[in-house]
């Protein structure tokens, strides 16, 4: 019993350490500028209050809604074009150039353009999220597809595989890990661009908007609280949800080594 607790602690303590470190910084900030920077106590109690407040959950809900549409679409499109590029080298050359150019433009730069073309509301934000996560996803999958081991393909051909079988049984499974790692990388981009886009205007709900609004009305404990919430949600989604998904889907990478000797 004790050893499983110790093992669990061994994995989890860095998270607590980070949280503690940040809260200490916050508290030091409060002591240095007490009027402006809220104490840890005030921030936490504000968070607890808001957890019971439906307005807070509406902010969270809208952000998640936009993420939940924009990010998966980007993953599917990015994966599709990445694999296509792996199969057609000429297209790969084009796609690389295209990604290199587009990635130099910060995704929220598109927002003013999208607001005019699509109007206000959720759609421009969703499009920004999609743009932000499409390119890293496509690039990661493209690299994964190009990295498929030629010997594996040859072995399958000798075994009598036709083209569809090569695709299904070798090419796609070997590219699959790149889907997962690509999804993890693009998640960060998606989240950051989501919050930034919500801050830039065009919407009146969402975590990014809430942070900006709290700042504008000098609701500092709200500002700090929303910063914490934004960070925590992203961490949980990335390091817990996506990471667990990765371990489950790629379990063959994580089996213990050398059991069979």
């Amino acid at each position: 019993m004790k050893s499983t607790l110790l093992k669990a602690w061994g994995r989890v303590w860095p998270y607590f350490a980070v949280a503690a470190f940040l809260l200490i910084l916050l508290q030091i900030g409060h002591w240095l500028k007490p009027i402006v920077i809220p104490s840890v106590g005030a921030s936490i109690s504000r968070l607890v209050d808001d957890l019971n407040n439906s307005a807070f959950w509406r902010q969270v809900g809208l952000s998640m809604y936009r993420l939940g549409i924009g990010y998966p679409i980007a993953c599917v499109l990015g994966g599709f074009f990445g694999v296509l590029a792996g199969l057609y080298p000429a297209f790969a050359k084009f796609l690389r150039r295209f990604i290199a150019f587009m990635q130099s433009i910060p995704p929220i730069v598109w927002l003013p353009f999208l607001l005019v073309v699509l109007g206000f509301g959720n759609t421009p934000i969703i499009v920004v999220v999609t743009i932000a996560s499409f390119f890293p996803m496509a690039l990661t999958v493209l690299n994964g597809a190009e990295g498929v081991n030629k010997t594996h393909l040859e072995a399958a051909r000798v075994l009598g595989a036709n083209k569809p079988q090569l695709l299904r049984k070798v090419y796609l499974p070997e590219t699959f890990p790149a889907f997962i790692t690509g999804a993890q990388v693009s998640f960060g981009n998606a989240w950051r661009s989501l919050v930034a886009a919500e801050m830039m205007g065009g919407v009146a709900v969402g975590l990014g908007f809430a942070v900006k609004f709290a700042g504008e009305i000098a609701d500092m404990s709200g500002v700090v609280m929303y910063i914490l919430v934004i960070g925590i949600i992203a961490s949980v989604l990335d390091q817990v949800v996506l990471e667990q998904l990765k371990r489950r889907l790629l379990h063959w990478r994580y089996v213990n080594q050398g059991e069979g000797k």
């Binding site: 072995a155 000798v158 075994l159 699959f176 063959w252």
Partner: protein, 245 residues
């Protein structure tokens, strides 16, 4: 069961001539080996029999019929096992059967039979990463044998293994081959391995690849690695390859 033949085969990769007028004939059911230093083109010659490379000129024949494409009739065993890391031993061994749409029940039986032949019964659900190098090559051999090929092509299959495992695997290979009637062609840079396993040994020299000698071994089976005749052959081949001082 098949005869293998390369007739006046030349191979260029761009402007590099890899093979120069190669003539090799492997009789049905016999065991042949090609020995040579790195870069002499022996792997390329093997890959031509597998249908993975085409000659620039000349003919590649199996039983008199030109070889065009890879086929499970002529199974190739790669130097680096080439197992799919995301599949279990069972799924790897059964891959060719799946491609041929063999029904699951029959597949399972054939897989289990062949795993027993290579001493890997019970390892069905292991992943390649959990196996040692020797075991992985055994799985590769099982994957080839389960297709019941006429020809087995082996590309330095034991090159990556330690010396002792290599000797064990050589004995296993002989056991699997004898009585099967399969035609075997082995590529190796281990002279002893060639002499131990094969009936006919071709010696090749590097760029451009040429066959410099052909030995039809007059050695009894089971081979004695320490017999005088064995040592004489070894000496002759080493001299041909410029390995003696």
């Amino acid at each position: 069961m098949k005869t293998l033949e390369l007739r006046h085969v030349n191979k260029m990769f761009g402007s590099l001539q890899v093979l120069n007028d190669i003539n090799i004939k492997v009789d049905k059911g016999s065991f042949a080996a090609i020995v040579g230093p790195s870069g002499c083109g022996k792997s390329t010659a093997l890959r031509m029999f597998a249908g993975l490379e085409a000659p620039t000129s000349g003919e590649v024949l199996a039983d008199g019929i030109p070889v065009k494409d890879p086929s499970p009739d002529r199974m190739l065993i790669f130097q680096e096992h080439a197992l799919l890391p995301w599949s279990t031993v069972e799924d790897n061994v059964g891959l060719g059967l799946e491609f041929a749409n063999v029904p699951k029940k029959e597949r399972q039986e054939r897989i289990n039979t062949v795993l027993e032949k290579v001493n890997l019964s019970g390892f069905n659900h292991y992943y390649p990463s959990q196996l040692s190098g020797g075991m992985r090559q055994r799985v590769a051999i099982a994957r080839a044998l389960v297709m019941d090929p006429d020809v087995l092509l082996l590309d330095e299959p034991y090159g990556a293994l330690d010396a002792m495992t290599r000797l064990t695997m050589q004995n296993e290979l002989l056991r699997l081959w004898s009585g099967s009637g399969k035609t075997m062609l082995l590529i190796t840079h281990d002279i002893d391995e060639a002499l131990y396993l094969a009936d006919t040994v071709y010696v090749m020299s590097p760029r451009p690849g040429q066959v410099t000698a052909e030995f039809h071994l007059d050695l009894p089976r089971p081979r004695n690695r320490n017999s005088e005749r064995f040592a004489e052959y070894r000496q002759e081949i080493m001299q041909l390859l410029g390995l003696t001082e």
